[in-house]
């Protein structure tokens, strides 16, 4: 298993923003896009995201490398909507057996596909440009998240590369024991479950030891922690947040003004 969670170290103006600011901005933007079902809003959102991408220091190639699984779910959602969409308005474009594919259904499907992409891009932009340590620091220092949970999770997150290597070792070790799927899907599922189990045993054992080592260095002593690294929430971060709100509002305004806005609830 190779994980593509490679950090882009960038001094681009938006990549440098406080991680909490980036999280909040992405969430505001995502909720805005989620609020409506029309294709225009997410299309505008995607356009805005693609324009902003260089300001995060993320190249379009990087985006493709990290974002390709998205295309799978786009396909899934489009297929599902074509099969089960209630809206059968508009002219028939083609028919698959008893299923009449109309322009109405296609519009809905297109809207959903665009939403999916519009919602995924902010996640890629935030996580590709945010160091996990900085995120934990900022959550504690700027968002008052409990330090024990933030730092404890960060420590667990550090085990990810180890888990990736472990997964490979477990797969090979199973083959060495004579256990393989040989193209049988039931055997494949059992093999997957068995490997996950072994991975969990190792992960819990490591987590327990790690927790002991952390306590040995005073993690649960109850003394108020100091912060070795300072995270600041500057005026630029506020401006960035305001910018995200304004951008979201602008996109929604356009979609309302053009009459395409279709609220998801109600």
């Amino acid at each position: 298993m190779t994980l593509s969670a490679v950090m882009v170290r960038s001094s681009a103006p938006l990549a440098r923003r406080n991680p909490v600011a980036k999280l909040v901005a992405a969430t505001v933007f995502a909720v805005g896009v989620l609020a409506t079902l029309d294709p225009l809003t997410p299309a505008l959102a995607i356009a805005a995201e693609l324009v902003l991408l260089p300001l995060f220091g993320v190249g379009y190639g990087t985006l493709l490398r990290r974002g390709w699984p998205l295309l799978l779910s786009v396909f899934g959602v489009v297929l599902t909507t074509i099969l089960f969409g209630a809206n059968r308005d508009g002219a028939s474009v083609f028919a698959v057996g008893p299923i009449d594919v109309t322009t109405g259904v296609l519009t809905v499907a297109l809207g959903l596909a665009l939403r999916l992409v519009a919602l995924a891009l902010p996640g890629i932009m935030v996580f590709a440009t945010t160091d996990p340590t900085d995120l934990a620091d900022a959550l504690v220092q700027n968002a008052r998240a409990p330090a024990r949970f933030a730092i404890g999770t960060l420590a667990a997150f550090r085990l990810v590369p180890l888990l990736g290597q472990e997964w490979q070792a477990l797969r090979m070790a199973r083959r060495a024991r004579g256990v393989d799927a040989g193209g049988n899907p039931v055997a494949a599922a059992r093999l997957f479950a068995g490997t996950v189990f072994a991975l969990l045993v190792g992960a819990i054992r490591r987590g327990t030891r790690l927790a002991t080592a952390m306590d040995a260095r005073g993690f649960d002593s109850g003394t108020p922690r100091t912060h070795a690294r300072e995270q600041t929430f500057t005026r630029a971060d506020w401006l960035f947040l305001v910018g995200a709100v304004l951008l979201t509002a602008a996109i929604l305004t356009v979609s309302i003004a053009t009459g395409t806005f279709r609220p998801v609830l109600g």
């Binding site: 420590a155 070792a169 060495a176 004579g178 256990v179 393989d180 005073g218 002593s221 070795a228």
Partner: protein, 467 residues
């Protein structure tokens, strides 16, 4: 400061019938350096955890007292630092400087004072990397030095070392020992648990031996304790310096047919082109520094990893009608009947919920009788554990089980990755005898190893991989 006083101390983990450690009476002066010995299961690590104040009241039952400078150990945690065995599970942060800073943050050290202390601690252990170097880019020995720096930055009066070099190759272990020598002041009390004694004895003033059933058997200067108790300790599995190992065993007959040949096998970034062949009835040791690709080579010969270049050819003796195909393309069941791989970490290979079921996996896949299961339980002294969950076994038991599972499907060729790593003396002796027997029965044995004693005791031939 840093004086230790134990009186009738004992601890039983919740859910266990037996006491992990019991009846320990021990006084240690400030600045003393003590090596704690005892057979596997004598509770050495539990005792260190107790001294470090890490045994929570809700996780077991305590008896007697344990004090540091007159304070109960649970209230003296700020005076104590502990370094554990596995670097991967004691480094908390992902960058070198941040990891040393972690403990200081927990103690509430202000930022202005914190970074100079980080620098001093790194300096003391001899780590010269930039502060933002990712910890995963360090070697095992360097990671363990970093763990030591993280503890020393807190300026403990009592330093506990729980097998700090057990997970390291010889080069890494020597890095850590030199850091300990240089960085630990004579005022700091040190209590250390370690299996390989020869190298650490010069560092300590006193040896304390715990008995398996409880209590302290012996205590005194190393020379006296080893002189009086050396043979008994060795029989308990402890690597006592100067205690002779069984005489080396070479093959009793000339090697037979070639079983497998590696022809210029290589993998980008991991292994340079390598030639090698293994014959029936011979034991081959593959040596070389860390990172040279020994384990990669073992995986390729084991049919588990496809070579990036070159090829692995199994002879007709080994592959029968499958000789045209390379081992990595064989069906898994066929593979286990021909080549048995034993991984460095035995737990990676466990797939069943009891020891007995674990041994039955191979024969069952091959449709062979299960009589071999009882034979192996007996031969590897696992019969009393037949119903135990494999994950609950001790290190030595797990190693014996992993070898037994490979033998269960009767392969002609055995490929072992660091089979003696971290084993106590008793398991080591048994394992070497078993491998020698297998070789003399006509198996080909290939072992990737850092262990010079294993090479000395078993290998008919050695291959040194160069970087």
């Amino acid at each position: 400061m840093g004086a230790v006083e134990l009186r009738g101390f004992g601890w039983r983990h919740a859910g266990r019938k037996a006491w992990a450690v019991r009846g320990v009476d021990l006084s240690i002066e400030r600045g003393e350096r003590v090596l704690l010995l005892g057979p596997s299961g004598a509770g050495k690590s539990t005792l260190l955890a107790a001294l470090a104040g890490l045994l929570a009241d809700d996780s077991g039952e305590r008896e007697g007292t344990a004090e540091i400078d007159g304070l109960d150990t649970r209230k003296a945690r700020e005076r104590v630092g502990i370094v554990f065995q596995d670097p991967a599970t004691q480094l908390v942060m992902s960058r070198v400087g941040d990891d040393v800073a972690f403990g200081l943050e927990n103690r509430g050290v202000p930022r202005a004072e914190l970074w100079p202390r980080v620098a001093d601690a790194l300096d003391a252990v001899g780590l010269t990397h930039p502060l933002d170097r990712p910890t995963h880019a360090l070697s095992g020995g360097e990671q363990q030095r970093l763990a030591l720096a993280g503890v020393l930055a807190l300026r403990p009066d009592l330093l506990l070392l729980d097998e700090p070099t057990a997970n390291l190759d010889p080069a890494g272990a020597s890095l850590v020992r030199s850091s300990l020598n240089a960085a630990v002041s004579r005022e700091t009390t040190v209590i250390m648990v370690e299996h390989r004694l020869a190298e650490v004895v010069p560092f300590v003033d006193r040896v304390v031996v715990l008995a398996a059933g409880g209590g302290v058997v012996a205590s005194g200067p190393p020379a006296r304790v080893f002189g009086e108790h050396g043979a008994a300790l060795a029989a308990d599995g402890i690597w006592v310096p100067g205690q002779p190992l069984p005489a080396p065993r070479r093959a009793t007959a000339a090697p037979g047919e070639v079983l497998v040949t590696a022809d210029r096998v290589a993998l980008a970034q991991r292994l340079a082109p390598t030639d090698l062949s293994v014959r029936a009835g011979e034991a081959l040791a593959v040596l070389g520094p860390n990172g040279v690709g020994k384990s990669t080579l073992a995986l390729m010969l084991g049919g588990l990893l496809r070579p990036g270049a070159g090829r692995v050819v199994a002879s007709a003796v080994l592959a029968r009608d499958d000789a045209a195909r390379p081992p990595h393309r064989w069906r898994a069941a066929d593979l286990t009947a021909r080549i048995g791989s034993v991984f460095q970490n035995p737990e990676h290979q466990f797939v069943a919920s009891t020891v007995r079921a674990e041994l039955a996996v191979g024969p069952r896949r091959l449709g062979r009788p299960l009589a071999v299961v009882d034979e192996l339980l007996d031969r590897l002294h696992l019969d009393h554990l037949a119903r135990a969950n494999p994950y609950t076994l001790s290190g030595g038991e797990a190693r014996r089980l992993s070898v037994a599972t490979a033998l269960a499907s009767a392969p002609r060729l055995l490929v072992l990755d660091e089979p003696t790593f971290g084993q106590d003396r008793r398991t080591w002796v048994e394992l070497v005898a078993l491998l020698a027997d297998l070789r003399d029965e006509g198996h080909g044995v290939l072992a990737v190893t850092h262990d010079p004693a294993l090479v000395e005791a078993l290998a008919d031939r050695r291959l040194e991989l160069a970087p």
